[in-house]
Symmetry: C2
Subunit: 410 residues, 2 copies
């Protein structure tokens, strides 16, 4: 068994200081920028709005002309034209004159406020104003939204759909984003075959590949798959070395237990790692391991999908985020009442799949399995994840716990 | 102005009952299935595990042979071989015999339990067992995880990376998912030009296109863009009719205000809609409108990105989810203290962009702007969204509110 299990934070503390932000920036079209991480601060190239414009539909006036107006004592102004977005009023508006105006249209020179329709009555070529408007009332001032040169979003921001709307508004067609970290993925195990092949006696399908690849992609990395390799130390040394050369990081699956078959661990050890952590105080996923070889991280995941998922979350995710210079996204959470006791050793962090459901007014949290890294069905049956920190021995039945919500509650 | 503003729920209540799940299923490779919505219940094609297998590294034995063993009185068994995943032990194990076994390997016939290494000591060809093990102790029984024929995930489930791991485990290489709803996107406005073009006087860039397209894609729809159309009712009728024929749904942007330029509204009205809701009690985004023409929804969004975003959330999102037969994903939320009062008319739902930040131990929520659908910078400056329900007049400074978290807090 593992003689000494380091905590996740200790393990990361040895690896992360050696992981830098990927030194590669690419310019991508706006429509491809959503989900990517900004590599530079991006500034407003001009004021927004670029000109004073109407914030409501109504009449552009000189505010001073409306002072003292009321419903019983309206002020009557001749209407000189119409200012529309895209077809502004040409000409200057004199004192005591008005121009009809649509939201977003430029304020005609000579005016400094917009009276909304509801405070007016149209009478042929004239408009009657029933209420005074203040100077720049109902006007969006040039630059009030964004000032030319102001940083719109800072490097390290993961771009959302509405962010690209802001950049489109100021005319950007592309943005500088961080290149995707390249991640080599090496599957190992004599017993492992790809889905689609016939399953021989004692064989299992490679279930971690597609999961790990899609999690890499979701974070913004670019996976490259090197296939399934037998439990042969020499061959593993070869493919891992090759994958390290072609990528910024390598993830292996399988061969990390401490039985007689942990070929992956021995292969990585023979690469003379600068950092080598075999096994962490996490449950499930104790065999998950991490190393640093010639400055590049190698994350060794369990071959069992539940354990591999935990290993990806605790090691691969923070490393990929560090390479992108980005913070992790917030996760949906919910508080609920535990239906069953959860016990775990102190100093071990536990990732417990749970089923969150409503019972009357209450949210209930049912733990699915604490151990058993091969308990596959907890992935499909669970809709939540309860993380029990190192310093606790667990939770009691009836405790109120906060759970990450992975799907809508049942 | 709008004479009568219907609530979002009233408007949806007229449209959603007429929106069915897309009648189209496609089979996609596992690696393309993440994020898609299952179109059918998918069952386990065989038991998982397919055979009784070791849950730990150790020695496969007959449990009965270990009864009564202790550290002071170990039981000594001859070791007949090794069962590894992929290379199981060939042969039957007799009473009083053991086989060394690695996690995941098939339990050799004749044995019914595994003694973990830590309860044994190896001595040449023999092993000493220090602790009794119960029948099927440390064994994963065939079918205990998933039973053949059991539904792994039900139709309507949006697939996560770990879901495909479960399907890969049982040999699936592809899955039946709902075809993407086709969404025609028509931009309107004489003043609107595409980013990249020079900006004339009074013109604005089309900022909603890329935002709306990427939100459609994120939900699992397939956007088709029809370009920017002038404020010309006849031309709009033509392009909207064309887009309706080619898609399951149409989204327009612009031309929905109630000034003199609401050409989109008039164009859709002339298509003789079965349902037509012009303007909703939401802030910002009051002009957002929705219609049903020949059974297909048309969502008319404001041309202002902030208002369009709200309109997409309240109309396009529920319609697209209904077409996919899927529930909405849970959102990250946080509770914090409001730094400033928010006032709004009762019976109006308000979507307030906020900045969430930590101040000492407290989470603070700063409202950025309640009105001003054109206030673009609230999108980039905000990291949260506070939804104020219809029945409230707002919140007071210092109130504790729950906020959707759109980015990590500052």
């Amino acid at each position: 068994m593992f003689r000494y299990l380091v905590s996740i934070n200790e393990a990361l503390g040895q690896v992360l200081p050696n992981v830098g932000v990927i030194d590669c920036v690419e310019e991508v079209d706006l429509q491809d920028a959503v989900g990517r991480v900004l590599a530079k601060d991006v500034e407003a190239p001009f004021d927004v709005p670029p000109f004073d414009r109407a914030a409501v539909d109504g009449y552009a006036v000189r505010a001073e002309d409306t002072f003292g107006s009321s419903r019983t004592n309206p002020i009557r102004l001749p209407v000189r034209g119409f200012s529309r977005p895209g077809s502004p009023f040409n000409g200057t508006v004199g004192p005591g004159e008005a121009v009809e105006i649509a939201t977003g249209a430029p304020l005609p020179p000579g005016t400094n406020a917009v009276v909304p329709y509801e405070d007016t009555r149209r009478d042929g070529d004239h408009v009657e104003v029933y209420r005074p408007v203040s100077v720049y009332g109902n006007v969006s001032r040039a630059g009030e939204d964004l000032r030319k040169g102001e940083t719109i979003l800072a490097r390290g921001t993961r771009l959302k759909p509405w962010d690209v709307a802001v950049f489109a508004s100021v005319g950007y067609t592309s943005l500088p984003v961080r290149c995707p970290p390249r991640v080599g993925l090496v599957a190992t195990g004599n017993e492992v075959v790809e889905p689609g092949e016939p399953l021989g006696e004692g064989q299992v399908y490679n279930s971690t590949r597609v999961m790990v690849e899609s999690m890499i992609r979701e974070l913004g990395g670019r996976p490259k798959y090197y296939g399934i390799w037998p439990d042969d130390e020499e061959k593993l040394v070869g493919v891992i070395t090759h994958a390290l050369e072609e990528n910024d990081m390598v993830i292996t699956t399988g061969g990390v237990s401490v039985g007689k078959v942990d070929h992956t661990v021995r292969a990585v050890q023979s690469l003379r790692p600068d950092v080598f952590v075999h096994g962490v105080a996490v449950r499930p996923g104790r065999p998950n391991s991490v190393a640093l070889v010639r400055g590049k991280p190698i994350v060794m995941l369990s071959g069992f999908p539940v354990a591999a998922l935990v290993g990806f979350e605790v090691f691969a995710r923070p490393i990929l985020l560090a390479m992108l210079g980005a913070a992790d996204e917030p996760r949906p959470t919910v508080r609920g009442r535990l239906t069953r006791r959860i016990a775990k050793p102190v100093n071990v962090k536990a990732f417990v799949r749970v089923r969150v459901y409503r019972h009357g007014d209450e949210v209930m949290v049912e733990p699915l399995a604490l151990t058993g890294s091969g308990v596959l069905s907890t992935l499909s049956r669970g809709n939540g994840l309860l993380i029990v920190p190192e310093d606790l021995e667990g939770y009691d039945e009836g405790d109120i716990v906060e759970v990450q919500l992975l799907r809508p509650p049942a």
